[in-house]
């Protein structure tokens, strides 16, 4: 996590991305994001715009997308704000990729609850498939990152791949998910535990049991 750094500012990078501009559809979405804020406060839309730019870069490169410096400068220009302020935001949030990533950005949560529930096994499964933290795999499909808590502790361990979460994983279940993605299929998102829907207690509810089938007024029982 700590090894984030900007891609170096090279002539190649300038040449590849110097002409970056929002496409029609991204421009509409960007303008809609800006319109959410009062006039003169367009800077507030910096986060959605960076995200949109990253997505467009992703579409163009068939990856999750990242933020080359010229693209960051474009966003700064679009919002009429100093580029250093945009760069501060882009480097602060690790949802913004500062280096090229693969088609699937596998973000394995390694924080305590996930670690206790076996995230080490997930990382091992990933590296068995040739993924290395912070690197794009040779086939261009995968980038592995270990991240901090993603807020899915009830269904630990979990990984986030691009926009979806996959929870209640074991190395085998993760393999199945990754295999499906590699084949171009869309695996089921969310919990991978059979019989579990979301993050309800495994093995059925232990509290508010009366509420399972119908609404129940507990107030009399307090």
């Amino acid at each position: 996590m700590a090894d984030r750094s900007l891609a170096p500012d090279t002539p190649d990078l300038r040449e590849r991305w110097g002409g970056f501009e929002f496409t029609e559809s991204y421009r509409t979405r960007a303008d809609r994001a800006i319109a959410r804020y009062p006039e003169g406060r367009q800077r507030s839309a910096v986060m959605p715009l960076l995200d949109l730019a990253q997505r467009q870069v992703g579409e163009e490169t068939n990856t999750q997308g990242w933020l080359p410096l010229p693209v960051i400068e474009y966003v700064a220009d679009y919002l009429d704000m100093p580029v250093i302020r945009v760069l501060e935001v882009a480097t602060f949030y690790f949802m913004y990729n500062l280096r090229p990533v693969g088609k699937y950005h596998v973000q394995v949560c390694g924080t305590t609850p996930c670690m206790l529930r076996g995230s080490d096994g997930l990382l091992a499964a990933c590296s068995k498939r040739g993924m290395k933290k912070g690197h794009v795999s040779e086939d261009g499909l995968w980038t592995l990152t270990e991240v901090e808590c993603m807020g899915n502790c009830a269904t630990a361990p979990m990984v986030q791949i691009n926009d979806d979460n996959y929870e209640d994983l074991t190395p085998e279940r993760l393999d199945a998910v990754l295999d499906a993605l590699a084949k171009g299929e869309q695996p089921k998102t969310g919990t991978q535990e059979p019989g579990r829907h979301t993050s309800e207690p495994a093995g059925g509810p232990t509290t508010l049991t009366e509420m399972v089938d119908a609404n129940h007024d507990y107030r009399k029982e307090w």
Partner: protein, 669 residues
């Protein structure tokens, strides 16, 4: 006005005060790193923790907590002591123990506060974080491993300088302060972050490893690089001025100085005139004082003698020259060496009447022919503050980067007579309207039109005078008070065809009309003036003599001598006194004190520190019209405006690196 109790002492604090300010009012010292009076509150160093009741039972950051009625604040409890120790311990986790090789040593907030508030010994045995060096230009040296992330520098560049060039990238432990892609910080005030930095992360590059603070003699001085008259402290060791630092004066420079003020001082020991020179057979050759004075006496000037004051001379020198000329029977004295000839019959009309502190409160400002960022960077800071409070700014003249929203009305001065409707409306609705006339406007003879503008738009009203002239020569207002002005400016002097011309460090003047005169240069740097001179008498720079200076708002200030002039150079007044003997005239002073007393007798305002006060603006000039185009501002290169700066290696480097004006060999990588 809330009443709070600080350590059992009940005090009343102003509305809107913070707990930290309340504690200070009660005389308690609150350690802090990120909090700074002139910057916004960040609250990220946590060093200012105090115990406050009512409130959560934990220490609170006093800098960001408003003082409210009935608060019980404790700065001396066990909780506060432990909290400070804890914060200090965390700050020191990643701070290197390199004080012996750190330039901040001896004047380091972290050092001082860890002695005063820290635990005394470390318990940390892990590896420390290390951060790569960041390039921030020729003035700021960075050792970012020492950074404690107080973000003062970020806030300064955004809020005061108005240029978002420094930012904090990444997060948490990885946070790094840098400029975008490590470009050089380009603002004229950029080096103030060195003073702001509470640790040794940002230190002075030219001053790196030069001296320790306790070796330096500190002298109170006044800056002469522009007409703001920034209050500075010259730190010297032996005969060398090592550095210039700002002194706090809320009326003048607050606590900032421009990079030129700070870094031109290395020019004080370069290209100095330390011997008497005389032109013999077309070449300047060393000579003795005696020879030089004899040569001047041989010219038999009689009353055909003129004196031109340079931009950096003190009032005493000018007065001595004036007295000398009067004794000779001449009144050919002039200070506006570039040939300006604006009317000086009423000094209020050529003064910055709003005062610098006052211009902050203006709500509509018309700038005519002034590149304020270069002519007076600290005034630009004030205008920026005014704009933040809602002032509208209009500029007549070529475009420049203002650091605040401003509307450019074109280069044609005729626009003064027929202002666009929105400008007229802005001034009609303004409570404190102001105009600032710069050198470019004065050179085009627009002073009358400016006064007319002041009259039509009622810039002078109860408790407010919005008519301002912004000079950029430190000697200008003092010179004008002493009468260093002819009706036709330099033209009159040239027309008089004096036999002897004394140039008091005047380097910007045109020497061509004086080809037949004996040109005597009394100055300190081998610059343009010295090249043109027939006789060079080595004088003293501002650091080497006591002197009185008057800034553009008419503020009289005294500077003290920090070091002695090099070689044979003498204090300017002694040279003029000796010259009087050579010319066999009486000037009536034999010591600096006598000279000063004579000067104050003639111009009493020069004897009192503070605003001189020139009375009311002249009436009835409302018909004056301005014509012509301002195609360029007088200052072509901010870093090389005076002989000291031109001699300074640092200023030359800034000029070529930041303004790209010259060729500088790239460092081999």
């Amino acid at each position: 006005m809330p009443k709070v109790t600080v350590d059992g002492q009940e005090i009343e604090v102003p509305d809107g005060a913070t707990v930290l300010q309340a504690c200070e009012l009660a005389g308690k010292e609150i350690p802090r790193f990120c909090y700074h009076e002139r910057l916004s509150i960040a609250g990220n160093c946590r060093m200012c923790l105090v115990e406050v009741k009512p409130g959560p039972p934990k220490p609170q950051a006093s800098c960001a907590l408003p003082a409210t009625d009935g608060q019980e604040i404790r700065t001396d409890s066990e909780m506060v002591k432990t909290a400070r120790e804890g914060v200090m311990e965390f700050l020191l986790i990643n701070h290197p123990l390199d004080c012996p090789i750190c330039d901040q040593g001896g004047e380091c907030d972290l050092q001082d506060q860890s002695v005063a508030y820290g635990r005394g010994a470390t318990r940390y045995e892990e590896n420390k974080r290390a951060v790569t060096e960041k390039y921030m230009g020729p003035l700021i040296k960075t050792v970012m491993t020492r950074c404690i992330h107080c973000t003062r520098c970020v806030r300064f560049s955004e809020e005061i300088a108005g240029v978002d060039e420094i930012g904090a990238l990444y997060r948490g432990e990885d946070m790094q302060i840098t400029t975008y892609l490590e470009q050089a910080a380009e603002h004229e005030l950029s080096a103030n972050v060195i003073d702001l930095c509470p640790v040794g992360a940002l230190t002075s590059r030219p001053y790196a490893f030069e001296a320790r603070p306790w070796e330096l003699k500190k002298t109170l001085s006044i800056d002469v690089s522009d007409a703001v008259g920034s209050n500075i402290r010259l730190d010297s060791r032996g005969r060398e001025v090592m550095r210039a630092l700002p002194r706090i004066n809320d009326d003048v420079n607050e606590e900032w100085i421009s990079d030129k003020t700070r870094y031109q001082v290395d020019g004080l020991s370069k290209r100095r005139l330390d011997k008497v020179f005389m032109r013999k057979r077309g070449k300047l050759q060393p000579a003795s004082w005696d020879e030089a004075f004899k040569a001047i006496a041989k010219a038999k000037p009689g009353n055909s003698i003129a004196a031109i004051a340079g931009d950096m001379v003190d009032c005493e020198t000018m007065f001595a020259a004036k007295t000398l000329l009067e004794a000779c029977g001449s009144s050919l004295i002039e200070g506006r060496q570039t040939g300006m000839d604006y009317d000086v019959s009423n000094l209020a009309a050529v003064n910055f009447n709003s005062t610098f502190a006052g211009i902050e409160t203006a709500d509509a400002i018309l700038i005519v022919g002034s590149h304020i960022r270069w002519e007076a960077p600290l005034v630009n800071v004030r205008i920026r503050k005014a704009v933040k409070r809602g002032a509208r700014v209009f500029v007549v003249g070529p475009q420049w980067d203002t650091t605040y929203p401003a509307q450019f009305l074109g280069e044609d001065l005729a626009v003064l007579g027929e202002l666009p409707k929105d400008v007229v409306d802005a001034f009609a609705g303004a409570d404190r309207p102001a105009i600032i006339m710069g050198g470019a406007a004065l050179a085009k003879g627009a002073l009358g039109a400016g006064l007319a503008f002041a009259e039509t738009h009622k810039l002078v009203r109860e408790g407010w005078n919005g008519f301002n002239v912004l000079h950029f020569s430190a000697a200008r207002m003092g010179g004008l008070m002493l009468g260093f002005a002819q009706k036709g400016g330099m033209k009159d002097i040239a027309a008089a065809g004096p036999k002897v011309v004394i140039s008091l460090g005047a380097d910007e003047m045109d020497f061509e009309p004086f080809a037949d005169s004996l040109k005597v240069y009394i100055g300190h740097h081998g610059d343009k003036g010295a090249h043109a001179a027939d006789i060079i008498l080595p004088g003293s720079s501002f650091a080497e003599k006591d002197g009185t200076y008057v800034n553009t708002e008419g503020r009289v200030q005294f500077a003290e001598r920090a070091v002695f002039a090099p070689g044979d150079a003498r204090e300017d007044w002694t040279i003029l006194r000796a010259l009087a003997d050579a010319l066999k005239v009486e000037v009536g002073f034999d010591s600096f004190a006598e000279l000063q007393a004579n000067m104050i007798r003639e111009v009493p305002a020069l004897g009192e520190e503070g605003l001189a006060g020139y009375g009311d603006l002249p009436k009835g000039g409302s018909t004056a019209k301005a014509e012509g185009r301002i195609t360029a501002y007088p200052i072509k290169d901010f870093y090389l405006t005076n002989p000291i700066a031109r001699a300074s290696a640092v200023m030359q480097q800034c000029s070529s690196e930041l303004l790209g004006s010259g060729e500088l060999a790239e460092a081999a990588e």
